[in-house]
Symmetry: C2
Subunit: 140 residues, 2 copies
């Protein structure tokens, strides 16, 4: 079974997991990494613990920010760990799609690309969406 | 000064604020709404409290999920409250851009559209990004 890791600066990863599980229910194949929340706990060792615990499963890691320190730490691991799939840009529509579609989609690349496409389409400036809907309604 | 509201199912809104402020520092113009975390606390009254407290400032509200109950609740308010700008799809690159560029960008529509565009570009499947970068490097 694929394993998911949500990783972020601060408590973001734990918070978005809470929102996700309120919507789709509890899942046992999710781990979270909250970096920089506890003095003396190194990000590298948090990552190592998750990697060891999830062997030999495929890992889909979603981090908070491309170019951020948490994502960079995982970038260093992708080349030598072909079981790691790394996505930057934690958000809720992405997680809902990834986790729920994971049960039926066998191709991990296709799963990720579809979920990213849907998530980007779902992010929107709603005032503009409402104006467009209203204008279309008036055309009829 | 523009006010920001992060609103979500569960503790996601509070968690992403924590990540944001670890990166850009504490801000006084951010409120969070965490729905369904306390029994007997209605989402409608959480929203009302924020609306009253932030009069007469312009409000940029970012919710967790287009089509979700938190976003729907705000959709009902946009038409009658021209000071509300509603965005669906909380994520960290979006918030960093919105909050930091808000100090210099006077046009709210332009601020939101630029931040959304940048955030979508920043969300990516990093394995693919690395493959492309490697292929480009090999072309030289």
């Amino acid at each position: 079974m694929r394993q998911f890791v949500f990783a972020s600066h601060g408590f973001f990863a734990e918070g978005i997991r809470h929102a996700l599980e309120l919507i789709i229910g509890k899942r046992t194949n999710i781990s979270t990494i909250c970096a920089y929340v506890e003095q003396g706990v190194e990000l590298k060792s948090q990552i190592q613990e998750v990697l060891e615990r999830t062997v030999p499963h495929e890992l889909i890691v979603i981090t908070d920010l491309f170019g951020g320190s948490v994502n960079n730490e995982f970038m260093n691991l992708v080349a030598e760990n072909p079981r790691i799939h790394l996505i930057a840009g934690l958000n809720l529509p992405l997680l809902i799609d990834l986790v729920t579609m994971s049960d039926t989609q066998e191709n991990t690349e296709a799963l990720i690309e579809d979920a990213l496409k849907n998530a980007k389409a779902s992010m929107q400036y709603c005032n503009l969406t409402m104006q467009k809907t209203k204008a279309e309604d008036e055309d009829f």
